[in-house]
């Protein structure tokens, strides 16, 4: 029985994953991430990758809301910050363990998502974006107005960590993979098609009988949940939570990541998060030119590859078969499954 499953898996691997770079690369990448701590006992590297993973979850959640459903949210830091502060407050005041605070934090972010989503239902396009940008700033004002509970400008500190640094790395990695997988499943399901239909034309979608309000709220909820997960993990990873989790700069950071990597694609969001995190760390060698080079790089990429780096790479490396719609390596002349000339 086991042998049959393994044989089927190997056959699937050889036919679907190996020949297609866009499937092979993620597998290699994940394997690499899993085995990295064994080869390199470098906590700095693990730290960078952990941040990249946290940002990935955050970016994927934003992509779901904005890329797939077209609800362009400029204040996504709201969910992140709400969850982070909730986890901090729960942990410091009630001594709850991270395993409890993080889900509660994510659910709080979901609740906030509902509160925020309802007024946003009526708004479209730029109006929606401007409304969303106001939320984190307003919340920041509230944080400063109650410095006793929220730590004010300094923030909250002394939060218990998840576990040892090495375990943290694996936990965050697994969380990132699981979250991305779940979101990927969602966007490839019927719900995902409805999201994209809403993005393409809300009036049309409504005319087809879809309850767009319900699905838009659903998008806010799911997106808020995963962003909240990222925020909660951040709180326990950094062990301090300050006003920096609610800044507009943070919101724009992930927008940049997703757009750089490729909007409306899961791999684009993750890839963008990794590229930006690694790039800003790589640029540490020059203190004065760091931000300038970073923004210049972003500008150049946007001009040359406006659809996103990973999307562009994928289109370079793969060709779509016109008949069976399967993806093939760009060097092939014939489709690997139907034999049609491509």
């Amino acid at each position: 029985m086991m042998l049959a499953i393994i044989r089927r898996f190997i056959r699937y691997f050889k036919s679907e994953i190996l020949p297609v770079p866009s499937q092979l690369f993620p597998v290699l990448f994940c394997t690499f991430l899993f085995f990295l701590p064994l080869i390199a006992k470098n906590s700095y590297l693990l730290l960078i990758l952990s941040f990249a993973n946290i940002y990935s979850i955050f970016a994927v959640s934003w992509d779901l809301l904005s890329g797939y459903t077209g609800q362009f949210c400029f204040g996504h830091a709201l969910f992140f910050g709400v969850a982070a502060y909730t986890c901090a407050v729960l942990n410091l005041n009630f001594g709850l363990s991270p395993w409890i605070t993080i889900p509660i934090g994510a659910l709080t972010a979901v609740a906030v998502g509902l509160i925020v989503g309802v007024p946003c239902l009526r708004l479209r396009g730029i109006y929606l974006s401007l409304a969303t940008v106001s939320f984190p700033t307003i919340l920041l004002g509230i944080v400063f107005a109650f410095p006793e509970q929220t730590g004010g400008e300094l923030g909250l500190y002394g939060i218990t960590p998840l576990s040892s640094p090495l375990c943290n790395y694996y936990l965050i990695l697994i969380l990132m993979l699981v979250s991305s997988f779940i979101v990927w499943k969602i966007v490839n399901s019927r719900i995902g098609i409805i999201f994209q239909a809403i993005r393409e034309g809300e009036v049309t979608a409504r005319a087809s009988g879809i309850n767009t309000a319900k699905y838009k709220l659903l998008a806010f909820i799911i997106s808020g949940f995963f962003a909240g997960l990222a925020g909660g993990v951040y709180a326990h990873w950094m062990r301090t939570v300050g006003p920096s989790v609610l800044t507009t700069a943070l919101s724009f950071q992930i927008i940049t990541m997703v757009i750089l990597g490729g909007l409306a694609t899961i791999y684009g969001a993750i890839g963008g998060a990794y590229i930006v995190t690694l790039l800003t760390e790589y640029l540490r060698f020059t203190i004065e030119w760091r931000v300038l080079l970073y923004s210049a790089a972003v500008a150049v990429v946007l001009i040359c590859i406006p659809r996103g780096i990973l999307v562009w790479l994928r289109d370079r490396v793969e060709k779509l078969c016109p008949k069976c719609k399967k993806r093939n390596l760009f060097t092939r002349r014939l489709c690997r499954s139907c034999g049609v000339n491509i």
Binding site: I126, S134, F135, I138, G141, F144, I255, T256, I259, S295
Partner: protein
């Protein structure tokens, strides 16, 4: 006084939103650039102040048009990338300034130093000058938009770009004209406020959110609305700080809250037309 400056900047943004259909987050960065250029010329190189002002406006225009041509025009259709692009441009301007001039605060001398006493109240001469010039420019812009042929073309393009191009309007040229006007307004705002402010490299971020709020309150893309919105928000913010001294740092949150309320209750603002 701040109302006038905000109005100048808000018109620029409103023009860009209305005509070019783009939100330019780098708009205030050019306003900051103009202030830094006049500082460089007047203080570091010791040029005559009025000459520095004129050169500063021209330099800002040139740099702005270059950024527009190279950075914004190619990706006009990708609205999402455009957003990130404008932020990247603003960051590049900020960082270049830090590299060349440094990250300390700088100040420029006043065009008219000293103060006068009006009805027993002391007012800086520069404050009056800035206020006067900003009102004058606002009036000029208003007359330009409403009376001249180019102004009419701009308004037509703002209303319906496709229709305008069918009627023979070169939409690309109009976009460029609007860009130049906005940049000029931002540059002038920068140089007349420079003597009254402390210039630092993050000043573009601070007023950006207020500007967005102003544009929303007045109606996105609406010139008259943005002028009135600027004065309203400027006044209300001062009132808030005055009445609620405990919450002086809540000013930013307050502007955002006002914007949110306007968006939920009446998204088209005071004067705007609902744009889909």
């Amino acid at each position: 006084m701040t109302g006038g400056i905000l109005a100048l900047l808000a018109i620029g943004m409103a023009l860009q939103i209305g005509v070019a259909r783009m939100i330019n987050f780098a708009h205030t960065a050019f306003y900051m650039l103009a202030a830094y250029v006049i500082y460089s010329l007047a203080v570091v190189y010791g040029l005559n102040l009025c000459l520095s002002a004129a050169i500063s406006v021209m330099v800002t225009l040139v740099i702005g048009v270059v950024f527009y041509w190279l950075g914004i025009r190619p990706i006009k259709e990708h609205a999402r990338s455009l957003l990130v692009m404008t932020v990247a441009i603003a960051l590049m301007i900020q960082e270049s300034i830090v590299l060349i001039i440094g990250s300390d605060y700088v100040s420029t001398p006043s065009f008219l130093p000293g103060y006068i006493t009006l009805f027993g109240v002391r007012i800086l001469r520069q404050t009056l000058l800035t206020f006067g010039i900003s009102l004058g420019i606002l009036l000029l812009v208003w007359m330009f938009i409403t009376r001249t042929k180019t102004g009419k073309t701009i308004r037509a393009t703002a209303q319906d770009a496709e229709m305008a191009s069918l009627l023979g309007v070169n939409v690309e040229r109009v976009n460029l004209t609007v860009m130049v006007i906005s940049l000029a307004l931002a540059a002038i705002a920068g140089i007349i406020i420079a003597p009254l402010l402390l210039i630092d490299e993050t000043m573009w971020e601070r007023i950006l959110l207020s500007l967005m709020a102003i544009n929303v309150i007045g109606g996105l893309g609406n010139i008259k609305g943005s002028i009135i919105g600027a004065f309203i928000l400027g006044y209300v913010e001062t009132m808030v700080v005055f009445l609620m001294p405990m919450g002086a740092y809540l000013r930013g949150a307050f502007a955002m809250a006002v914007m949110l309320i306007v968006l939920t209750v009446k998204p088209e603002g005071l004067f705007g037309i609902r744009v889909e």
